[in-house]
Symmetry: C2
Subunit: 356 residues, 2 copies
């Protein structure tokens, strides 16, 4: 299945690579499973990206519907990836799954590997936390730290020795400080605290009232406690908080600033617990919360520089799904400077290099 | 249904009362429905308490099982109250239900009244928030404020004009700052923040590990996210935080102090929004969190005095179930100084005057 190569740099690679690798070309799959959706990338063992598919979002595997949701999401994503590549599903050399709520080496990882094994034929299947894939994608497997602030929030770092540690990422009820769900929940709390006379007035009150079509705020209890409780319930409200902060609402600005400080704190905690040589430690911010731009980035940078003078904020290179491809290539012994270069080039050309 | 009168003061009342009221004696029921259990008191229209029953805990009526849980809890509590009184269930003059999650004048209140009406025959049925009953019981219907810190947390005040306002009490996901669920959740957060390197070490880590029989803290995610999410999940952990604070753990002490400050803040917000004449405003603390004693009371008093110099902390006189009886007596026109005195005296003699 030929893919059209449009860029000069890709042409250069493919010219050198195709003859050598075509005979042994095998496939790898890289997954990025988050709370709002799951992405699957299909690549050749030469690093060429061949197809991309998407599926539903995941919830913790301990939830009654957790396993079924994962099964559906992976199935949908992998089927559409093969389809886009114009290939029939076939045995893969390696599959790497970066999945939210799945910690490396836990029973959840084993369960995710088993679920994937029932859906996909492969020599090697590895499941780990989605942050592991994000780190691999953002820094192309090099030492450093990613701070991911999407629906949830976590920092993960890896040093020269290969050791990885995380901070944050305990889910919306136990932390995820700095995430969209944190922003949204803090926004609701601040509005209610203003409404009942505890805190200063805030634009969040009319914004939430409008968003939920509320006559009174008792209605909010009805909505929240009548819902299936999941992180996106509050994460969906984060844009209201960002909007209020952009419109100079002091209460909302305070919430956003504290979120940024929390994100600097997880990055710093990770750096403290690893050994980085060199003058600087690259820290790549990822996830929808950082799309608020300077509103978040400025206090994040300020606090991080104070906590960790060696930290250097860098733009992430590839998204987590590409990171999973990279880790799958490594798992089957196909990771080289050449395959990495091909992966980067293909991801950019096909428009899949965008890191949220 | 004769009840034994043991105290001299009760004898004094009953001597004067029995002849006058026996001919017209009718019954009232007062309910206190909380997240951990429901109490029903059966009283005569002369204020004598005749029986007491208990039922299950309540969840918000918007929850799929909310209505059924309320039906079971009320049914169980009222049946056992009649039984203890040695009376067959019969028509009542008034029923007052103070129920968690049921705000005065909302659709939830109407729904609770309807559910009660299907179970109990009565001339008047009124449902309102349990804080309304707690206020009536704690101050015997006089102006002032109650601060309730149980599974949830709320302050409710009523002034000389009869106007009532509340602050806090938005449930465990939207606030309830200072409650047992707040203490427990903050304790878990602090432990995880210490574990992943963000915050200082704390005794909460070994305490939680032991409590949940955890090998690693990933297990906590499994427990929390695999559970039916309700306030008691975290409220059950509050004693661990109190214990750690009593053993001088600085992190736990900070959490308890902040909880106490939050409780002072809801009380203050209520006082700000009402008009109290006189030199002082009585504020009665209630609920299990205050059982931690000086650990909570000292910072609560300190902060409240700074925010509201007129506030005077007083011991609550009767519990919320007695407050509901008082409000039921008022609803059927039977509330007098004499019936109040009888209610107080009976509650004390029968050992039901204990306010948590």
């Amino acid at each position: 299945m030929p893919i059209e190569e449009k860029g000069a740099s890709a042409d250069r690679h493919s010219a050198g690579q195709s003859a050598a690798s075509a005979a042994h070309l095998s496939y790898v799959l890289g997954f990025d499973g988050g709370q709002t959706g799951t992405t699957c990338l299909l690549a050749g063992s030469d690093g060429a990206i061949l197809g991309r598919g998407v599926g539903g979002g995941l919830v913790h595997l301990a939830r009654p519907d957790g396993q079924q949701r994962m099964r559906s999401a992976l199935c949908e994503a992998v089927a559409s990836a093969w389809q886009m590549a114009g290939l029939p599903p076939q045995r893969c050399a390696a599959v790497y799954l970066g999945l939210t709520g799945v910690e490396n080496g836990t029973p959840e990882a084993a369960m995710a590997e088993q679920i994937a094994g029932e859906l996909i034929e492969a020599d090697i299947i590895t499941a780990a936390n989605d942050a592991t894939s994000a780190l691999a994608g953002a820094l192309l497997g090099k030492p450093g730290v990613v701070v991911i602030a999407g629906t949830g929030a976590i920092a993960l770092g890896g040093d020269e020795t290969g050791r990885q540690v995380f901070s944050g990422g305990w889910g919306w009820l136990l932390g995820d400080e700095g995430s969209a769900s944190y922003l949204g929940r803090r926004g609701v709390l601040a509005a209610l605290r203003a409404w009942d006379g505890r805190d200063p007035p805030t634009q969040l009150l009319p914004l939430l009232r409008e968003h939920f079509h509320l006559d009174d705020f008792y209605g909010l209890k009805r909505i929240i406690y009548g819902s299936t409780l999941e992180a996106p319930l509050f994460a969906d409200l984060a844009p209201l908080v960002v909007k209020a902060a952009q419109e100079e609402d002091a209460v909302a600005q305070q919430i956003v600033t504290e979120a940024a400080y929390e994100l600097a704190l997880v990055a710093s905690a990770v750096i403290n617990r690893l050994s980085f040589g060199g003058d600087s430690v690259p820290v790549a911010p990822l996830g929808g919360v950082f799309r608020a731009g300077d509103l978040v980035l400025r206090p994040f940078r300020r606090r991080l520089c104070r906590l960790q003078p060696r930290a250097r904020i860098v733009a992430p290179i590839l998204p987590a799904a590409c990171g999973s491809v990279l880790l799958a290539l490594r798992a089957c012994g196909a990771l080289t400077e050449t395959t990495i270069a091909r992966l980067v080039s293909d991801a950019w050309q096909r428009g899949w290099a965008h890191v949220e």
